[in-house]
């Protein structure tokens, strides 16, 4: 299983904070993984501010495999105004 996390406004848009994706023994590039995910979550925007795989910033070429954690993040809004 790949654990998928949606943060901030993306959890509102998808109506989901955390979900799982079954990859089995497949290894896919993040671009493919995201394409599949958008099939399930129609309201997930095309581009995220940052995507992390296993808590490291990823690129669309990053390989995703079983037991990974994929976090999909909108722009940050820490700090005070």
């Amino acid at each position: 299983m790949v654990k998928v996390l949606f943060f901030g406004i993306l959890s509102s848009k998808t109506g989901c904070k955390e979900t799982e994706v079954e990859l089995g023994s497949r290894e896919v590039e993040l671009s493919v993984f995201m394409g599949d995910l958008r099939e399930r979550f129609k309201d997930l925007p095309k581009a995220a501010y940052m995507i992390a795989v296993n808590k490291e910033q990823a690129t669309l070429k990053t390989i995703v495999r079983d037991n990974d954690e994929v976090a999909i993040m909108p722009p940050f809004s820490g700090g005070s105004r």
């Binding site: 996390l5 943060f7 901030g8 406004i9 509102s12 940052m50 992390a52 808590k55 976090a71 993040m73 909108p74 722009p75 940050f76 809004s77 820490g78 700090g79 005070s80 105004r81």
Partner: protein
Amino acid sequence: MNEKVTPFSKGGLEGIKVRIQAEDFSMEEEVERLRASSKKVGAVVAFLGAARDFSEGKNVKAIEFEEYKGMALKALEELRNDTMKRFDVLDVSIVHRINRMEPGDRIVLIVAASMHRKAAFEACEWCIDRLKETVPIWKKEITPEGDSWVAPHP
């Protein structure tokens, strides 16, 4: 000294200097910790970010911060390291609170200590600017009609 030490990723002093916590912090304590770290400290600049009266015509009762646990603290640690590399400072500490906050509550504190004041001013300002870009923390507004995520502001 009544140090309220909260969980942090690394043990020792390093961890204390970068924290994400629900509890409030003591500004005096944070500043003194940095100042006491070296006799060379001639200047300390502290930035305190507070939750101000929220509404722009909205019925906002409180705000709430959510972090990506595990990644946010790591990003703060990197931010501290980058700041110390980039500026001629002796030490830097960063504390960011999470969870629910009401108007007047203190949200974030950044302290930079240096020999000469210019470096401390620059480091402190750069650090808070950068925090907003690199640390996975998100804010939402709590209203009677429901919660809504806040778009980032510079």
